[in-house]
């Protein structure tokens, strides 16, 4: 395919996928008699109408991208981390506890210190799953699912006990939440009158850092090798088990940091329900972003838009809140289904030749010598998977699960 055809083809596939998703959503909406067109109009345009909407998209994109970066690290190292939710909670606890314990410190110490504590809290939780997998062969899907529930209980325990706002006891309200954290632990707001906070800078900086970590450093090389083919990595002298644990520590640290940043920038006290949904949406964002920071950042913005837009529909188009889930689900399913038309050279090849036949064009010629034509991964990877690795090969852990 030439370039223009490729773009047209890609555009067509994406359009078809979005149409399919909207169609599924429309079925449900028609079942309940909602205004289909109005709903879609709201989702796609309302968040973008003013500065506030745009900043709110970013507010959601910040934790999403942090969680997704962590998940990408784990996936690249061969672990499916579905425990981001629990890791976020542990991060929030550690962050809040640090901030509450040291309120007197100047901001330039307290803020980094408590954010680091948050990362450490998440790392601890992720590290447990990593340890269990590396040393005791406990499947990570099992352990992370279970650890999410354990973290949730631990979280309420602390928020209702040792970390509870003493004021809640005095007034007798008893809500499980901490005191308003000291200002020194806050992330500043970037735009006056909105909630957009400095977490954005952290997320962007860490995206760059993750790129360097995974593709430019020896540690990242080891983690990717361990994830892509553990046997070969072991043979080449890489301590695979150790790097599994390191990957999960890092992955957990990102989730923990996401929690900490969310509290430091948005809520400014640990309350219940903060992590809700970010863990799973983070996985989706990570995979949409091709497990690569350059993809994750835009993907998290897209999902920020989707989450916000869909959320606005219940106010502006009068559909039940659950419709948000329907639309998200339908969009995820149809876009991932469409992906192979974009990425898989086998399918592309077939489609191209079918088209060539229809339009009576000559079938594209193929180089003579087979050896000279083994696919270059740079060509194989599609727009969704900025790839340093060969996507055509089934070993990519992302394609795995």
């Amino acid at each position: 395919m030439n370039r223009a055809a490729k773009v047209a083809y890609g555009g067509f596939v994406v359009a078809a996928a979005i149409f399919a998703a909207m169609f599924v959503g429309a079925l449900v909406m028609m079942a309940i008699g909602a205004d289909v067109f109005r709903t879609y109009w709201v989702i796609l345009t309302e968040p973008l109408q003013d500065l506030f909407g745009v900043t709110e998209i970013l507010v959601r994109a910040i934790p999403l991208s942090l969680v997704a970066l962590g998940i990408a690290i784990a996936f690249r190292s061969g672990i499916l981390n579905i425990g981001a939710e629990g890791q976020m909670l542990m991060g929030i606890l550690a962050y809040a506890a640090t901030a509450i314990a040291l309120p007197g410190l100047p901001k330039f110490i307290l803020l980094p210190l408590s954010l680091l504590a948050g990362a450490a809290g998440g790392a601890l939780w992720g590290g447990i799953a990593g340890f269990l997998k590396a040393r005791l062969q406990v499947n990570e899907i099992l352990s992370t699912v279970m650890l999410n529930y354990i973290a949730a209980q631990f979280y309420t325990f602390l928020l209702r006990g040792p970390l509870m706002d003493p004021g809640e006891l005095v007034t007798g309200t008893g809500t499980p939440q901490t005191i308003r954290l000291p200002k020194g632990a806050w992330l500043d707001r970037l735009v006056e009158g909105t909630r957009l906070h400095a977490g954005l800078v952290i997320a962007l900086a860490l995206a760059v850092a993750v790129f360097f970590l995974l593709w430019r450093t020896t540690v990242g090389f080891r983690m990717r090798a361990a994830g892509a083919e553990a046997k070969a990595a072991r043979y080449a002298g890489i301590g695979v088990e150790r790097y599994l644990i390191i990957a999960m520590l890092l992955s957990g640290a990102f989730a923990g940091l996401a929690g900490a940043v969310e509290v430091a920038g948005v809520h400014r006290r640990a309350i219940e329900g903060i992590s809700g949904g970010y863990g799973f949406t983070g996985i989706v964002v990570a995979l949409f972003g091709g497990l690569h920071p350059a993809g994750i950042i835009p993907a998290s913005a897209v999902f920020g838009l989707l989450l916000l837009g869909a959320d606005m529909t219940q106010r502006s188009a009068n559909v039940p809140a659950n419709m948000v889930l329907v639309l998200q689900g339908a969009i995820i399913l149809s876009i991932v289904a469409a992906r192979q038309f974009m990425n898989n050279p086998y399918v592309q090849d077939k489609v191209t030749r079918r088209f060539a036949k229809w339009f009576g064009k000559r079938v594209p010629t193929v180089p003579e010598a087979a050896e000279a034509a083994c696919p270059d991964p740079a060509d194989v990877a599609g727009p969704c998977t900025a790839g340093e690795d060969g996507q055509g090969d089934g070993k990519n852990p992302a394609e795995g699960r």
């Binding site: 507010v59 309200t173 809700g276």
Partner: protein, 309 residues
């Protein structure tokens, strides 16, 4: 009177038979009373903390007069927004603090309903075992539980009150499991708060012909299909709170007060189920009525905070 536009933000749903629905029903009732021309109402449900922030702001900037963020976790977001929209009335609860001048807080004194329910439970029980199916030991359900224990102890000091929690506000299935466990442990009167309690009540209803009873909280469970098991139930009636807010606002007071929800200000409705028959004896009614009256007049103060379980 000028038109008021009210917005409600909740984390659960408006039909959860619990926390969310209580507020929703109250606003609907007030709307009915004042007329739809006077009260405009819109709600956002399933709001995670971050979504609640955008929803509240959207409401405020669209000119809603009263924005109710129904949950103590929304405290921060209200305190932040109220400065930016000084003309808008914000409200959140449960909270007993006096907020800024355009913020109302509200605080259900749930120990009161707990106490009255406790008296009934303490007198109804034959096994002397009473079960509480709690969600999480916090907020108004913690107050309810402690008031309940005091009520039971007041009439039946020997009763064994088994307190247990599901760890979740909305896990109906687990609440049912817990209720069954309570019954197996000999409890013959159960109670519980939050939306999950519906699950527990469903479980109690399964003991159709056995003398297992329920005393209710949050919504008027007497009218539910499982009502035949409910001896009496208390429900929150936030219309008092809503009306206060509307009236004060019309009078130019945008906030700066904490509105309790109590028997005294008719924030709680307490009803017996006349159809349960003999279990609800006159003696029980009398004792409960007396407690209710004493609480209402302020004669009886319930010191719930020190109760441990």
């Amino acid at each position: 009177k000028a038109k008021v536009r009210i917005a409600l933000i909740i984390e659960s749903t408006v039909d959860d038979k619990g926390w969310g629905q209580a507020m929703h029903d109250a606003i609907m009732a007030v709307q009915k009373k004042y007329g739809a021309a006077l009260v405009e109402y819109n709600y956002s449900e399933k709001m995670k903390p971050v979504d609640a922030g955008s929803a509240a702001r959207q409401y405020a900037s669209r000119g809603f007069d009263i924005v109710i963020a129904h949950g103590a976790q929304f405290k921060n977001l209200v305190l932040e927004l109220c400065e930016e929209f000084p003309k808008t009335t914000f409200s959140f609860g449960t909270n007993a603090e006096i907020g800024p001048k355009n913020v109302f807080t509200y605080m259900p004194m749930s120990e009161e309903t707990g106490y009255v329910n406790g008296i009934i439970a303490g007198m109804v029980t034959k096994t002397n075992v009473i079960g509480i199916v709690g969600p999480v030991d916090a907020g108004d359900s913690a107050r309810f539980n402690r008031g309940f224990i005091l009520g039971v102890k007041a009439v039946n000091p020997k009763a064994d009150i088994k307190v247990a929690f599901t760890g979740s506000f909305a896990d109906y299935v687990k609440a049912a499991e817990l209720a069954h466990t309570q019954v197996k442990a000999n409890a013959d009167v159960l109670t519980g708060a939050a939306q999950q309690a519906t699950g527990a009540l469903r479980a109690v209803a399964e003991y159709k012909d056995k003398p297992i009873w329920w005393v209710g909280q949050d919504t008027l469970q007497i009218t539910m299909p499982e009502g035949f098991k409910v001896i009496a139930a208390a429900s929150y009636d936030y219309s008092a709170v809503i009306e206060v807010m509307i009236d004060k606002r019309q009078a130019g007071v945008l906030g700066g007060e904490s509105i309790p929800l109590s028997f005294t200000n008719k924030g709680f409705v307490f009803k017996y189920n006349d159809k349960v028959g003999a279990v609800l004896t006159a003696a029980i009614r009398k004792a409960a009525d007396k407690a209710l009256a004493d609480i209402t007049t302020g004669k009886l103060k319930i010191d719930w905070a020190p109760v441990k379980y």
